[in-house]
């Protein structure tokens, strides 16, 4: 289990995007060009200079409207697919629980994106390297909370030790259930060996645009077991594996886009 946890209590989130902009400011990330497509959600996706964003999920059922918000960024998983697949060990975990990318080492293969159940690391399409949330490494090392949690006005995004945050999340879920939020649930405590981001959800994860059972694919595990110990192996194998993984990711992405377009 990760040492530090970002707790996201979506029942307190009002989608002010303070976290999203705080991330941009602290990490000195420039704005990207976006367009209005009918939703308040923007940027529409993570990218090389967008490491976090707020998702807006609109649901209408029998005239009752639900507008669910959630802050979405790297989950800093214990079972981190990105870390497992990285052919050059550029991705590692710090003692504070952050899964980070060493950009001196990164070879821009894109495998990590494909191996991540949340498609978090981004970059190869734009730059040479993969980029993502680093859990505000420097802030945390210096004793500060992450920029996103520091900014959050309503206490929806908080940061602390895993024990403390899990206990808090469990209590909150119990409280919500007691208040009649029947579907209130935890997300991230058991998933992926324990994520560095834990959600308190008022409804099932898919209602928030989160995978219901996130897993690291079998091929990624296989890659770790079979290939990583032989990392000095010929580039041929490395590139093949990389491309395979990247291809799978692209295929999935294209498929999703097509589905979206079809809707």
């Amino acid at each position: 289990m990760a040492n530090n946890v970002r707790l996201i209590d979506v029942t307190k989130c009002m989608a002010c995007k303070g976290c999203q902009v705080a991330c941009k400011q602290w990490n000195q990330l420039p704005a990207v060009e976006t367009e209005f497509t009918g939703s308040y959600e923007n940027p529409a996706d993570l990218d090389f200079v967008t490491w976090s964003r707020v998702k807006f999920n609109e649901h209408a059922n029998n005239g009752e409207v639900k507008w669910y918000f959630n802050f979405f960024s790297c989950m800093h998983c214990t079972e981190a697919g990105c870390m497992e697949i990285c052919p050059v060990d550029a991705i590692s975990r710090t003692d504070t629980g952050a899964v980070i990318i060493n950009h001196e080492e990164c070879i821009a293969c894109g495998a990590c994106t494909g191996a991540c159940p949340f498609e978090i690391p981004r970059g190869p399409e734009v730059d040479e390297k993969a980029y993502k949330c680093n859990f505000c490494l420097h802030r945390v090392a210096a004793g500060y909370a992450t920029a996103c949690s520091k900014a959050c006005p309503s206490g929806a995004v908080t940061f602390g030790t895993a024990d403390e945050k899990i206990a808090e999340a469990e209590a909150r879920v119990a409280e919500l259930q007691e208040r009649g939020v029947a579907n209130a649930q935890l997300y991230g405590v058991d998933e992926l060996g324990g994520m560095g981001v834990i959600y308190v959800l008022a409804d099932s994860p898919d209602m928030y645009g989160l995978p219901v059972s996130p897993t690291v694919s079998y091929t990624t595990h296989l890659w770790k077991v079979a290939m990583r110990p032989l990392k000095t192996l010929a580039m041929a194998g490395l590139v093949a594996g990389m491309l395979g993984s990247w291809y799978t990711f692209r295929r999935e992405k294209v498929k999703k886009e097509n589905e979206k377009a079809a809707k």
Binding site: C16, P153, S154
Partner: protein, 787 residues
């Protein structure tokens, strides 16, 4: 705000109506959440399901422009179901006062009605004589403490509101009956002694032809439930801008000077002005406050012999609000306009007319941080620069962190801002600009003479030639003894000294800068326990009082309604004070029990606002439709507020041509006219374009899908933008017919990093009968696929 932001945590029920608190004041959610964590409930009443609605316990839809009906329904519900705080109402309101038997109401009009052709064809005004109390020979108001007299306020009040039953209100507002009853049950639960209900609002109550009556309705409901003057209660106007409170306090409004003293009228001398001051209540001190302001304005030249140069103040002859003066500008009556850090060509109503009006100016001076649409009006797509002969000066101003000074938040906290960096290039603070301009104009008058030079050449204006000495300005606002320079520490310095002995720029601020070395506005000590009043953090006017009208937090004997959240307590023959008392705390509670509202002459709050008040359109709020509406007024034959000024009758659309209700609003990611945010890449990224929002049913009707371009048309103009088709907007059943709503943010204009259509190209030139705030929030439109 009667209360303040942190105080939200003390509420049992918070109703956000006519505002969108978490989108437009996101940090308010910190304290709303704290209340929710303690078991409080949040109600969101809004035409759309907003981000506030998303986090609320109860959402109720409402048709824009029907808040009087909505509140009236709640008031009636509280009365009929005996949910009001009876003891509070009897003690602190004018419920028992007897009203002139001639007073009456009939079919949308009150007694005293007369034709007022100068306000528009068919418009009315009131001779308010009958709207007054019955008095004895000494002028004391007659009362019936049993509340049974048919002429007592309570009986008139009950009768007036009895017409607003749940079904009627539902048909007017479009709020389904069951939802309305849910809201009524939840909010009226705070009528129980010891419970606190908070109503927070913003421009969704004020920007209507009946905006002032919306706010009155809100205040009446809060008085009825005993929610004024207590922790967790209040009538809380959430100010949209960081210093809109302060700008009002400093008199940046046509009808007042500083400290909410009215402008003098034509021919009025100081004696007449002072004679018009209320003869009871705290305003009896107005002559002292006026003298102190005049002393601050004209210094040594202002003497008792020359009435402190009261003659130097310009006299107000008529409505000179921005709505009004842009119509004068359109007629060529105004030659020069100064516009500091403001952008009326995006933020004002009916902006197509505004741009054309500005073309009638000889010259325009704007100061801003980026190029705004007001300064660049001649570049607008509908203007031809070669035909605009207005000269324009656009002066580069400082950003907020490039200068020092104070700003005042919604809770009236006056907070000091330190300067962080120098401005870039030749950008200068607004105070530098006005200082330079004043000196230049005074020099010209001193050298050449000119028309009535006295007010300029005699003005006390000595803040430095280049950099302005801001602490010196602060001390002048705060007030000081003119002869000794000793700073005033409280109102007593002004009221207890000779006229003009103390010079105080804005009397209500006295105390905020009473210690030059360590002014209260710089205080930074947080409260560690208590109700969140934080008396040692900054300074709240008046007198560092955090919750106003706070005598109402205790009963007649001085027992707090809620001992756990007490502001005061009468104990062992003295007042235990937790907040700064808004009453005389040197006398036993019985002596102040029936006079907690020290700013009204009757010393009580008004369920009936008659001659002692200023409402021009009725002592009780009455529902009228907005100027433009898709339905007929269900309550009377008077369609819209009969007392408001109609500037351009030809601008009024008919529902046959414009069948949809239109409303405007703001977004978290943008700010007002967008100058500060449409030039901010991170915020443009987060909300890149102008759009409108409609329901899926309307989208199907006009054949558009999410993200398509649409054209929205009103009688005033046409704009194009993208459309968001969302179930968060729903048609409402209005008087038996289903009516659709088109909502749009008003942040965009034709300049900036992100440019887009201005919603205010569509809004009408018409304002509230009392304040002339334009009716931005409800008009009618048509919508179709663009192209």
């Amino acid at each position: 705000m009667t209360n303040h932001w942190i105080d939200y945590r003390n509420s049992d029920v918070i109703m956000n109506i006519g505002g969108n608190t978490v989108e437009n004041h996101p940090i308010s959610m910190k304290w709303i959440q704290a209340a929710l964590d303690n078991g409080a409930k949040l109600i969101s009443v809004d035409p759309r399901f907003t981000r506030t609605s998303a986090v609320s316990d109860l959402y109720a839809p409402i048709r824009p422009g029907t808040n009087v009906a909505f509140f009236s329904g709640l008031i009636n519900y509280a009365i009929e179901n005996n949910k009001y705080h009876e003891e509070y109402v009897k003690l602190f309101t004018n419920a028992s006062s007897l009203i002139n038997p001639d007073f009456g109401y009939s079919d949308g009009l009150f007694t005293g009605v007369q034709d007022a052709p100068d306000l528009g064809d068919g418009q009315k005004s009131y001779d308010r004589t009958s709207w007054d109390y019955q008095r004895d020979e000494e002028g004391n108001i007659l009362k019936d403490e049993t509340l049974q007299d048919s002429n007592c306020v309570w009986q008139l009040f009950k009768n007036h509101y009895a017409r607003y039953n749940v079904q009627t209100v539902s048909e007017i507002t479009g709020c389904p009956e069951d939802k309305f009853v849910e809201v009524a049950e939840m909010f009226c639960s705070t009528g129980e002694p010891g419970k606190a209900g908070n109503i927070s609002y913003a421009m969704g109550l004020t920007q209507f032809t009946h905006g002032s009556q919306n706010v009155r309705s809100c205040a009446i409901l809060q008085l009825l439930l005993g929610n004024v003057g207590i922790a967790g209660g209040g009538v809380n106007a959430q100010r949209g801008q960081s210093n809109v409170q302060g700008a009002c306090d400093m008199g940046q409004l046509f009808h007042i000077v500083t400290g909410y003293m009215p402008m003098p009228s034509d021919g009025q001398d100081l004696a007449a002005y002072n004679a018009a001051a209320p003869d009871s209540g705290y305003w009896v001190n107005r002559p002292k406050f006026m003298a102190s302001m005049l002393k601050a304005f004209w210094g040594d030249n202002a003497t008792e012999e020359n009435d402190f140069h009261f003659d130097y103040l310009p006299r107000l002859d008529k409505n000179r609000s921005s709505v009004a003066y842009y119509t004068y500008m359109a007629k060529g009556e105004i030659k020069g306009l100064f516009c500091f850090a403001d952008n009326p060509v995006v933020g004002g109503a009916n902006t197509i007319r505004k741009r054309r009006a500005q073309a009638e100016l000889d010259w325009l001076v704007c100061a801003d941080i980026y190029e705004n649409e007001t300064a660049a009006f001649w570049k607008a797509p509908d203007m031809n620069p070669e035909e605009v002969d207005t000269e324009v000066f656009l002066l580069p101003a400082c950003m907020h962190f490039e200068k020092e000074g104070t700003i005042t938040n919604s809770g009236r906290w006056i907070q000091w801002r330190h300067k962080a960096q120098d401005p870039p290039g030749e950008a200068k603070p607004d105070y530098w600009i006005v200082n330079q301009l004043f000196h230049a104009i005074r020099n010209l008058y001193e050298e050449e003479g000119g028309a009535f030079p006295g007010p300029i050449v005699d003005m006390y204006w000595d803040y430095g030639d280049d950099e302005v000495d801001i602490p010196k300005v602060c001390m002048e606002i705060n007030g000081f003894y003119w002869d000794t320079g000793e700073l005033a520490t409280g109102f007593g310095d002004i009221t207890g000294s000779d006229d003009g002995e103390v010079a105080a720029g804005s009397w209500i601020y006295t105390g905020f800068y009473a210690d030059e070395a360590d002014p209260a506005c710089k205080n930074r000590t947080r409260e560690t326990e208590g109700l969140g009043l934080n008396h040692d953090w900054s300074f709240a006017w008046p007198a560092n009082r955090r919750i106003v009208y706070n005598r109402c937090s205790c009963d007649a004997e001085g027992n707090p309604w809620n001992p756990d959240k007490a502001l005061f307590r009468w104990e062992d023959n003295e007042w235990v004070t937790i907040d700064v008392p808004d009453f005389n705390a040197n006398v036993p509670p019985e002596e102040t029990a029936d006079k907690p509202f020290i700013m009204t002459p009757e010393l009580q709050s008004r369920l009936f606002a008659g001659l002692t008040g200023t409402m021009v359109d009725g002592p009780f709020p009455e529902h009228y439709e907005p100027w433009e509406s898709i339905t007929a007024n269900r309550m009377s034959d008077v369609q819209f507020n009969p007392v408001c000024k109609v500037w351009y009758p030809e601008d009024r659309g008919e529902s046959a041509d414009y069948p949809y209700i239109a409303t405007t609003y703001r977004l978290t990611e943008h700010y007002q006219t967008g100058i500060m945010t449409r030039n901010n890449p991170w915020l443009v990224e987060a909300m890149p374009e102008m759009f409108c929002e409609i329901s899926p049913s309307l989208a199907a009707e006009i054949g558009v899908e999410n993200g398509d371009m649409v054209e929205i048309e009103s009688k005033r103009g046409t704009i194009q933008c993208k459309v968001a088709v969302t179930p968060r907007v729903k048609p409402l059943m209005i008087n038996g017919e289903e009516k659709e709503i088109v909502g749009m943010p008003w942040h965009w204009g034709f300049k900036g990093l992100s440019s887009g259509a201005s919603a205010n190209d569509l809004t009408p030139t018409i304002g509230c009968a009392n304040t002339t705030i334009p009716e931005f929030k409800s008009f009618i439109c048509n919508i179709r696929r663009a192209g």
